[in-house]
Point group: C2
């Protein structure tokens, strides 16, 4: 059983990782983002396909291409962050907001759900799983619900 004290320490480390990750997103620093993930991670992201793994990674190059589709820095907000941590396994969930302007001048302002899974590997917390999504409307339109606010 993990003691409350240890839990608080682990949670602080994970919170620092998430801060670094969000700051790297804001700065469009692909290295800074990628360095928070384990090499062998599984991602379920906003865009198809269903799943990215080490066999079809959404890695540094994909991230750089995606970053380059936006003008200037990204707005990135994390709300209602809830971290559950053990000794060497943890997960968190939050509602995240991305605000940006594409190189075509289109404004993006999107709230989405974010879940991260972490493992402590060689004494360092790292992201091994990411799941980002919006729900979709069940009215027959199958439209992604990109207009929801928390």
């Amino acid at each position: 059983m993990t003691t409350a004290n240890t839990k608080a320490t682990e949670e602080a480390q994970i919170r620092a990782l998430i801060d670094n990750w969000a700051n790297a997103m804001r700065a469009k620093d692909a290295d800074g983002v990628v360095s928070q993930y384990a090499g062998d991670n599984v991602k379920f992201i906003l865009a198809p396909p269903l799943k990215y793994t080490r066999h079809n990674p959404f890695g540094k190059k994909a991230l750089e291409d995606w970053f380059s589709s936006f003008q200037g820095p990204l707005g990135y907000e994390i709300r209602d962050l809830n971290i559950t941590t053990g000794d060497d396994v943890a997960f968190c969930h939050s509602l995240n907001r991305m605000k940006a302007t594409t190189t075509d001048g289109a404004k993006v302002d999107l709230w989405f759900r974010e879940t991260l899974g972490f493992c402590k590997i060689a004494g360092k917390w790292t992201i091994t799983h990411e799941h980002s999504s919006v729900p979709f409307y069940m009215d027959g339109s199958y439209k992604a619900a990109v207009d929801l606010k928390p």
Copy 2:
């Protein structure tokens, strides 16, 4: 540090929980599904809103209503299940498939991404977080990608 032996035991317990949960889904047994969750859980599901919590739960009544929109039992398949477990915190991810016929006669055959977060509470693993989703097309249509296969 959790030993390999303990990890295997914990993982077997979580796998049994997931089996029970999937069987309850197939049988449209709302009690059987709900009993796998902690009272204080946070769900990000396929349908809006962004988030269900104990303040606006997707609980037994909502599940019963949803079940009653389908004829007969549900088809429910879990593929590529990957469980990461510690002493008292765990998470898993998989690609799940739901096959069903609505009371209106419409066929549903949907692959989606599933992430579950678990805590061991009073010696028993329980689901504290669920995230289910499909990605959406980035072609300007904002259509949910309900046609993807693994």
